[in-house]
Amino acid sequence: MKKFTLVLFMTGILLVSGVFTTLAAEAPVTITWWHIEIVENQIALWQGLADEYMAAHPNVTIEITGYENENFKTKLTTVMQSGAPPDLFQSWGGGVMNEYAKAGLLLDITAYLDKDGWRDTFAPGALGVYSFEGKNYGVPRDMGMVGFWYNKELFAKAGIDNPPATWTELLADVQKLKDANITPIALGEGDKWPGAFWWEYLATRIAGQAGFNAAYSRKGSFTDAPFIQAGEKLQELVALEPFQSGFLGATWGVDEPTLMGNGEAAMDLMGQWAPGAFNDSSIDQKGLGNKLGWFPFPMVEGGAGGPADALGGGNGFTVGKNAPPEAVDFLKYISSVDSQVAQAKIGLSLPVVVGAESGVTDPMLKLVQQGTAAAKYFQLYYDQAMPPAVGSVVNDSVQGLFAGTLTPKQATQAIEDSAAQEIK
């Protein structure tokens, strides 16, 4: 009998302690995370952050998948259409994100941002890109403006002392480079969006903030004079034949950075990720080094936009509708100042978290960062700012301008038709 009581007692202790341990350790949680980094040290940075978080939270497992940019877009569209988004995933905010938000595929994280002042850690402009109708669905990690990356040596060879400050000067410099037998501009117009930057920047300079807002809010139209003028200015440039041979079929993924990285073209209108790609595509992997310079898009004479207005955008992460609270907590973890400094140091991000600016050591990227911060009017790339259908029509139509198959009027008409249908 004594023995029996003892056994009962021991069993009881085992059971009770079992129950307690289960209560103490939280239920296991899995977070799926998709990013688009394919450069080794950038993949390692994300993996390292996930490992740290998992070590501190033993119940959390983070499953990371890194896709190549274009593959990511294809794969994400498929899972979105099946209604099963990953918990955390790469986003550029804007129009595409808005479509996902409208379809209820994203988690509203407004309440998390309002707690403990998380919201205030971000530059407000960058955070706003990941909000729709007053609700936040994600946070940025990177933001920058598009500008001209140029080869100082080739400019000097052509006798250009200072980078151009006006559109007329730019055209003159292009002619000087041509006369010196140098390819003035590298362009991967097969991808369409690199060329769209040109037209969008011209429109930003000529129409200004008010012009774009009028067209976008449907009070005005994309067939308004400034947008047609942007096309006309672009064709002035195209008429000089400033691009490498076959630019209409070339890509950003291969041709454009190869030309720049190996010093075969003098300039390239591109975003903050360009130097990394130039280095990666050069034969010695080092790129142009201190021969690389940067200048903002020149003023257009008579335009309504200011010289400090910027076109650009960046990267961030949005949260899928089925994400556990731990996913948002982890997002907060990777958005810390330390993480942002680490991202900036390896050229992965141009930081958007207050206090992480010091991570940017490259003098050129510092220029981009300062230009971005100083912009009075920051225009998100059109193909991110507007619904995907309109953005795609912008890219397609501008390619027509580069090829000379569309007149500036026809191009703006196509964009206006799409905007009239999609923006309500």
Binding site: T74, T77, M80, Q81, G83, V96, E99, Y100, K102, A103, G104, L105, E189, G190, K192, Q244, S245, G246, F247, L248, G249, A250, D255, P387, P388, A389, S392, V393, D396, Q399, G400, A403, T405, L406
Partner: protein, 313 residues
Amino acid sequence: MKKNSFGQNVQTLPRMTNPVRRHQDRMAIMIFLLPALALFLIFLVYPIFQSVYYSLFSWKGFGPAVDFIGLDNFKRILTDRIFLKAVGNGLLIVVFSLIIQLPLALALALMIGRSLRGRAFFRTIFFMPYILSEVITGIMWMILYNPNPNRGFINAILTLIPGIKAIPWLGNTSTVLMAIFVVLTWKFFGFHMLLYLAGLQNIPPEIEEAALIDGVNNRQMITYITIPLIGSTIRTSIYLSVLGSLQVFALVWIMTKGGPVNASEVMSTYMYRFSFVRFQLGYGSAVAVVMLLISLLFSLAYLRLVRQTDYLN
């Protein structure tokens, strides 16, 4: 007991007369067919009807389709200049396949189908491109076509000729479709060649020997003996080539995405752009339905007018 024409006794198969047995046979056939039939219905027939359904909506592809617009998508497709261009490009690829790719495949099959030295070697290398994945083929040819003579093999050779400048094959609206057609031919002629080789092996050697005794020359042999005897193979290969040409996608998407400015647009790249880049899945579905109808019409007409004889014989 019945007797056959040689006077042997033949046992009539009892199951042909026994209704119970016949029923059991049918059941067995049904059961064996069921898995394949289920897959066919779920992954082929059901999605087709789904596409037809979605083609009547203005739908982005997320959440339920609610914005019913009737046949508006079809009206837009049939009046869209770019879609008509895509159909035209598809037809051009069909025509060029028929007058260049298939005759080339036939000529090579006739050459290596005969007692050529090292024919196994040639058969292998001619068939090799067909084994490569379309994506790899596309990337490989993009490199070959690179407009910079320092990087692209084709232009490197071309520029060796004095007075000839490098040609941006894929970056020029007037050369891009032909450049893609060369790749399509390179990739698929081996497949058709193999079909013809199989057809050639079925020609009884006695017929050719008899013709040789009758004194035919090489040209007569090919036009009056060989080609008529592989007629059904040729008709099959034409059928496959036309359908394949109408549906070509991966190579074009990898190499040009249908560009520059729609110069190499085909129906499938047009469909893909609207469905997955512009998020207009309703419109994309309508394009898919139009593609299906075009292919189906061709199939039915071809089966009825041309290939019927093959089945009757």
